[in-house]
């Protein structure tokens, strides 16, 4: 796999991966866990516990609310203190179950273990993935079971595991690949079994040579192929990754399944392996706590519902006050204003930025320098689009394919005028979605 296709655009970023060599440490038990019922894209889970119920670790707290949804499990044993709501990373209130830990951390009866998953039927395995509440752990948190159920008219022939981790600063996947290599490979093979696919590719960016080497070594003889990819942001974006690895272009507005690919995060693959081989639902994940203000940045295995403040305290707190706290990576993460937000299944990192690292957006006019054109991996015209949106020509923006924007942030990163280009795109997308919903509602009437 030396002939590597390069996708258009992209930017070279200062990686800032200061936690690459920090082994994963497990977070101690918290007195209180606030477990949001919506940790995924789609409908929130429906609570199945009542206030005052005793729960055990791994017990079901909420069942999937609809087809595109995922169940939520208890991170520890204890009592349900209340069903309320909590602040989510996006700034909206999410329904949540608050669990008071009893300190015992008693595990619930694990789900039946597939001792020999090679012989289990794909449907059984798929049901297990759904049951364990596994979602895409790269950030978007799309329920994996839904992904594993492609539309009937397409056939998937390639499974790509995304170990690219192109976001600067984050190292959660990197550490996972080093420390749980075999779990990931097992997970990949389970996915392939579910879909009946022969070709399994694990894609890793070249800036993680140790992980690449480890993966290649362990993958030998398992039918899993490991490829190293050029270091370029956003190499890990689904469409760009598929293009680089297979040379196929996902058509606008379509899913990877339409070109016969399925992309899933390495963490999700590991979670699948745990769910199948250990009967363990997804209630914990590795989160990178990093940033120059953090005293001892590290990779922490956190249970879902742990507040950001506890994770940060475990990393020794801060050396200086940050100006920004970001849930996720610096390019696509969401900035938050509180540390009371719980870690959820999609929280790949908590990043603190000091005052001198933050560049503020300014209301300058577009200079038409065209740098965003050169940087946009979707080959769009972000500068013109953002001006169009700024002057409220939303329908024009939609005609110019604003809906294809993957919000990777390359355009804003390179913009010398400091324009909030991605934010403009988001707005146009929100407006377009609202218009579409209104039109649908009107046609139903």
């Amino acid at each position: 796999m030396n002939k590597q296709i390069k996708f258009y655009g992209g930017v070279k970023l200062d990686e800032g991966k200061m936690t690459s060599n920090e082994p994963i440490i497990s977070a101690p038990l918290e007195p209180l866990y606030t477990v949001p019922l919506q940790q995924h894209i789609g409908a929130p889970a429906k609570a199945v516990v009542q206030k005052g119920d005793k729960v055990l670790r791994g017990q079901l707290l909420g069942e999937a609310g609809s087809f595109v949804s995922a169940p939520v499990h208890s991170p520890t044993s204890g009592t349900v203190r209340e069903l309320s709501s909590c602040l989510g990373p996006a700034g909206a209130q999410l329904p949540a179950v608050v669990i008071e830990s009893d300190g015992e951390d008693t595990a619930a009866e694990p789900l039946p273990i597939f001792a020999n998953w090679q012989e289990a039927s794909p449907d059984e395995l798929k049901a297990r993935v759904a049951e364990a509440g596994i979602v895409g752990m790269g950030g978007a948190a799309f329920p994996t079971a839904v992904k594993l159920s492609p539309p009937p008219n397409v056939t998937i022939d390639t499974v790509i595991l995304n170990g690219v981790e192109c976001e600067p600063c984050l190292t959660a996947d990197h550490r996972l690949m080093l420390e749980h290599t075999e779990t990931i490979i097992t997970g990949a093979r389970i996915i392939a079994r579910i879909l009946g696919v022969k070709q399994i590719i694990i894609a890793i960016e070249m800036n993680k040579p140790d992980a690449l080497e480890m993966m290649t070594k362990k993958a030998e003889g398992t039918g899993v192929e490991v490829v190293g990819l050029r270091v370029l942001y956003p190499q890990g974006a689904e469409k760009q990754l598929i293009y680089t690895v297979t040379g196929r272009k996902v058509p606008s507005g379509k899913l990877p399944a339409h070109v016969g690919c399925l992309v899933t995060n390495v963490s999700s693959a590991a979670a699948i392996a745990d769910a199948v081989c250990l009967g363990k639902p997804l209630y914990e994940r590795i989160t990178t706590v990093t940033g120059t203000p953090v005293a001892k940045p590290g990779n922490i295995l956190c249970r879902v519902g742990t507040p950001y403040s506890s994770a940060l305290a475990l990393c020794g707190g801060v050396k200086e006050d940050p100006l920004k706290i970001i849930s996720g990576g610096p390019m696509m993460g969401m900035s938050v204003y509180s540390l009371d937000i719980p870690i959820i299944k999609g929280t790949s990192g908590i990043l603190l930025l000091a005052a001198d690292e933050v560049s503020q957006y300014t209301p300058n006019a577009c200079l038409r320098c065209g740098r965003c054109n050169d940087a946009c991996p979707m080959e769009m015209i972000p500068g013109i689009l953002s001006s169009t949106i700024e002057f409220h020509h939303f329908s024009l923006a939609e005609r110019w394919h604003v809906m294809d924007c993957i919000e990777c942030g390359c355009c804003s990163y390179v913009c010398p005028a400091g324009r909030p280009l991605v934010q403009h795109m988001r707005r146009a997308k929100a407006v377009a979605n609202a218009t579409r919903r209104a039109a649908e509602a009107a046609s139903k009437k």
Partner: protein, 260 residues
């Protein structure tokens, strides 16, 4: 002499030619559309749900839309439209927009410093904007920019204010507000309003806003039967049966106020 003959001749010839062409090749136009168009306010606000005034006139003439959808047209104009179209008039109660929030900078807690596009929807998508309350006015003036009549003023302390005399109830601001803080209410019943939009419990609301409705139910108890309805922890006016203006005296946080 020849000049007069020539000019007259050309004129007559051309006139004849045009007349003949129109007679034999002309396509009739609908005079109804034109007379309807004259009755339109011409603001092209889109409040009727169609793309501007002339589109609405066209839609009425072809039966795609009913008269009376325009929130700006006077009652007489609507009646005239109905007359032209030969349908019975169906008058809608004129409406007015109300910003149901008192959370200006003096009352609402500031959670963070928002940096980005000066637009409410954008701010809401970024960690919920700078104010702590997730139900209140974001104060960046998207509604004011959407108003085709200049009826919305952004107060310097980040709260939208509607000027009742300019408001036509077209609903553009209602569409523009991402938090649905703006409500459209019948103009005749718009005497007192609850200037709060948060259904949260009182202690939560109080931490983020000093002017929130605390759900004390005093107003609901004082007012007549069914005049004020409690939606959980938020009082709301029943605009079909509005309470008397005196009711505002009982509100401890002054979020129940006379229309301003």
């Amino acid at each position: 002499m020849i000049d007069i003959v020539m000019m007259t001749g050309t004129g007559v010839l051309l006139g004849l030619a045009i007349g003949l062409v129109v007679r034999y090749f002309g396509v009739p136009v609908n005079p109804l559309v034109e007379s309807l168009n004259e009755l339109m306010p011409g603001a092209n606000c889109g409040g009727c749900g169609l793309a501007g005034c002339s589109d609405y006139a066209n839609a009425m003439a072809t039966g795609r839309a009913k008269p009376g959808l325009c929130p700006v047209m006077s009652a007489e104009a609507v009646a005239k439209c109905c007359e032209l179209l030969g349908v019975e008039s169906d008058t809608t109660e004129p409406k007015i927009a109300v910003v149901c929030c008192s959370g200006d900078d003096d009352h609402a807690a500031k959670q963070a410093f928002y940096n980005g596009v000066n637009d409410c929807l954008n701010a809401m998508l970024v960690a919920g904007g700078s104010k702590g309350c997730t139900y209140g006015c974001l104060g960046l003036g998207s509604c004011a920019r959407a108003c085709p009549f200049g009826a919305i003023e952004m107060l310097p302390n980040h709260l939208a204010k509607i000027h009742a005399d300019l408001c036509t109830g077209c609903g553009k601001c209602y569409m523009a507000c991402p938090r649905n803080v703006i409500k459209l209410v019948p103009r005749s019943a718009a005497k007192v309003h609850v200037y709060c939009n948060s259904p949260k419990k009182a202690p939560i609301k109080r931490t983020v806003c000093k002017a929130a409705c605390i759900g004390c139910r005093k107003c609901a108890k004082t007012a007549g039967e069914g005049q004020i309805i409690m939606n959980g922890y938020l009082a709301s006016i029943n605009y079909d049966n509005p309470p008397a203006e005196g009711i505002v005296e009982v509100c401890p946080t002054k979020c129940l106020r006379k229309a301003d």
